[in-house]
């Protein structure tokens, strides 16, 4: 499997996915 960080688009998409995941983590933490 290729490393997504080798491509610029893979890097950006990974960042967006991580943002969504962390958003729901924080939403849970603040009781939203």
């Amino acid at each position: 499997m290729n490393n997504p960080l080798d491509s610029l688009w893979g890097t950006v998409i990974s960042g967006v996915v991580l943002t969504v995941v962390l958003y729901f983590v924080v939403k849970t933490l603040i009781g939203g």
Binding site: N3, L5, D6, L8, T11, V12, S14, G15, V16, L18, T19, L22, Y23, V25, V26, K27, L29, I30, G31, G32
Partner: protein
């Protein structure tokens, strides 16, 4: 006006723009430029004259950004880093920024010194250093996306979390 947080926020923004701006320059511009330059032997212009200057402002802007951010958190520093409910959003942003600062000073800069010939290294060491620095830089580009989201969300929690 409360001068310390006001000046810290201003400094945090200015240094942050320089840090992340140069990070995006490296990842969106310089990596592709070096690849193209390798085909006509013009890469030295970038590695000798551009990259060392860009790295100088990049690494020091990273440190100033973090210190100004810490000053801005002030008494909320521990609450943020322990992700307490009222400070969880800015806390996640602060953790991501801290990991990125470590990547700059612990991985990117020491390895770039070998790549650029500022520190003696064999060709094998240079190749390995180039890969480590590249992946750390790409990791920071990836982390910058949620980091900037949570910096914005931390200052406007109700807008982002309802």
């Amino acid at each position: 006006m409360d001068f310390v947080p006001a000046l810290a926020r201003w400094l945090h923004f200015m240094a942050g723009v320089m840090w992340i701006g140069l990070l995006y320059y490296f990842n969106f511009v310089q990596v592709a430029a070096l690849k193209a330059a390798a085909t006509d032997n013009t890469a030295a212009g970038i590695t000798k004259h551009v990259a060392p200057r860009a790295l100088f402002y990049f690494r020091w802007a990273a440190l100033v950004t973090w210190l100004a951010g810490a000053a801005l958190l002030g008494g909320n520093f521990v609450s943020a880093f322990t992700l307490q409910p009222g400070h969880a959003a800015i806390g996640v942003g602060a953790w991501l920024g801290t990991i990125m600062l470590f990547n700059v000073w612990g991985l990117i800069w020491p390895n770039q010194k070998k790549v650029l010939g500022l520190k003696p290294a064999t060709d094998e060491e240079k190749n390995r250093a180039r890969r480590v620095a590249f992946l750390a830089s790409r990791t920071n580009t990836m982390l910058s996306i949620p980091m900037l989201f949570f910096m914005a969300a931390g200052a406007h929690t109700s807008l982002y979390f309802g």
